[in-house]
Subunit: 370 residues, 2 copies
């Protein structure tokens, strides 16, 4: 039988994720598998928890990687906290807010959605009014809307919620590792991410963290969590001191995450964030020199996800196909109402390097020239 793995080409991953993976992380993935209860593996797990806490800026004990992708992190965040009938407010301005709505609805929450135009951020005063009118169990928002390239005001909404009874749930799948997230300072109660964006590890794990207040809600549930696999009361017994077997942890993926976090902490998170900002500036400048326009207003742009308007008369899909086939570069297309209208260019983690921007610019110049 032909082995397709033998002919995998190296593609420059400049889409909305997965991002480029550093060689150290590939090496980590192929380290010898240990048992999920092996004493040395337990040491690695302990260090992993500490590193996730550091990058999330939280002291929360319940901080661990869920054995699934970023979307499993979202599912875990909601399924552990929602009981049927719970009022939930979602501040929505893109695909991942829509997904939150879908996840929460299926769990029987009474969901209200406050929607803002896609490509613009959640607007503070409008959100404040809505929040003031009712006591929500959960108020949820996406920090970095991967579908539009918009940065939402996570710290500011957190300030509004100081002292409130609501739980503040934030999706930082695309943000974590590429921009600041201060879970404790910003009053965030539930935070989740994914490995395949700015953490520069292949997809497969979802770091999550729950505050004491979120833990209280979890402990005071009237019903069991309707999902055994993602039940954090059980998972935390494995990741905590008791080491009670729950499921077999994805050992090699956890090696990969360990190495990926170590690289970020060694470079220094502040330096990593400014690298993202600088490379983002270089990209925007290059795109503008080509006559291309950004979807999002300058002040609300994410550094790691750049939504670029497709010029009139250009077939967006054929540009992406040519980038992939001729130049070995992947970029993303638009989703939902933005399908066909934008390209999404990722500068996540290990992808955020000047030579990658240069390579993309040369390719785009070649493809778009009249």
């Amino acid at each position: 039988m032909k082995n397709l793995l033998d002919d995998i080409e190296e593609i420059l991953l400049m889409g909305p994720g997965p991002s480029c993976v550093p060689p150290e992380v590939y090496r980590a993935l192929s380290q010898k598998t240990l048992g999920h209860l092996d004493p040395y593996f337990l040491e690695i797990m302990e260090e992993l928890k500490i590193m996730i806490r550091r990058i999330m800026n939280t002291a929360n004990t319940l901080t661990l990687p869920i054995s699934g992708t970023g979307s499993a992190g979202m599912e875990a965040a909601f399924v552990n906290l929602v009981e049927p009938g719970d009022p939930v407010l979602i501040l929505l301005n893109g695909v991942f807010g829509v997904r939150m709505n879908e996840v929460a609805q299926r769990l029987g929450a009474q969901v209200e959605v406050l929607e803002f135009p896609w490509g613009t951020p959640v607007e503070l005063q409008t959100a404040e009014k809505k929040i003031g009118r009712k006591s929500y169990q959960i108020i949820a928002m996406v920090q970095a809307e991967t579908s539009t390239g918009v940065r939402n005001p996570v710290a500011e909404i957190g300030s509004l919620l100081k002292g409130s009874d609501s739980l503040y749930l934030v999706d930082t799948v695309t943000g974590l590792g590429g921009m600041e997230v201060r879970m404790d300072d910003w009053n965030i109660d539930v935070l989740y991410s994914g490995t395949q964006k700015c953490l520069s590890c292949p997809p497969g794990l979802a770091p999550v963290s729950f505050s004491q207040k979120a833990m209280q809600k979890l402990k005071s549930r009237k019903t069991k969590v309707p999902n055994w696999y993602l039940d954090l009361t059980l998972i935390s017994e494995y990741w905590g001191q008791n080491r009670v077997y729950h499921h077999t942890a994805p050992v090699n993926m956890l090696y990969g995450l360990y190495q990926a976090l170590l690289l970020i902490l060694e470079e220094g998170p502040e330096k990593v964030f400014s690298r993202h900002r600088e490379i983002h500036q270089a990209l925007v400048q290059g795109l503008e020199e080509l006559g291309l326009k950004m979807l999002v207003e300058e002040q609300f742009r994410l550094p790691m996800l750049n939504a670029v308007c497709v010029p009139e008369g250009v077939d967006e899909l054929s540009v992406r196909k040519r980038l992939r086939s001729q130049f070995k570069i992947e970029i993303g297309g638009g989703l939902g109402p933005l399908a066909g209208k934008i390209w999404r260019i990722g500068l996540m983690g290990h992808t955020a390097r000047k030579e990658n921007v240069d390579r993309l610019m040369e390719a785009l110049q070649e493809i778009l020239k009249k």
Copy 2:
């Protein structure tokens, strides 16, 4: 910072999973990450589906790996099919039957359990009587009870269910790749496994397959699947022809599974199964020469999971600790009512080699000598 990954020792994995990983699979894990919608990656996905079907002996279109561990496969099997109030029968004789009960209960099923003594198989006549008394929506059983080393009569129960309206759900987490599973011939409607047992790939994925009959039940649900992440109607749109983005597939883990399946198919499943049986015989003989007794009667023993009674006066934990620290071998302890009473010795996939049995025997001889 110290990098703990630098000091990972190679441990001979002879526990209840994870099992030893062949070098080709480690290499596959560290191949260059492709995008989850990359055309070449889609080819790999297509081949993966074909290989899973071959090893499960099924023609089911809906056959794919779930992005989570074996337990996520169990959760996916139940959550897609159970609606509140559905009558479910679980034929139980170990930890993983208990887990099925827990998962199904949380989803609101009306679960009945028919329990058999742990260490013995599901008994056909008793099961037949129970099944004849009521129309169950789902009848569920574990093929290879990892907690006791017992093989359950999967084909025989399947015969009983021929023509019935019930869905037959089988857990083959520990069986698949180490013993025969004939999904279609045995009338199985839902089958799931995990990568870290006889498939010899690190933990992290759960191959699943749904029959047409199971798909019908899924399509005729009155309520949406109460789990967005594991909703097979959505996941199948990504793994099918439409390629609709659902979540970012765990690309590198899928490379690992691809390579692991390829190795089994190249060796030939029949040869792989007889290798398991032979190595199992060698292990049992060796254990008996040391004066040790097997928990399970000969005819019901699994080849890949061997439950061994701890001799009186021996502290089971200290034996395992010494095996791990002095001889770099991992074996497992008992779970539930068997905790402290048995060791569980895995001979799964790449672990099932004569030299591993020899190494364990020498170590045990040394440790157990008076």
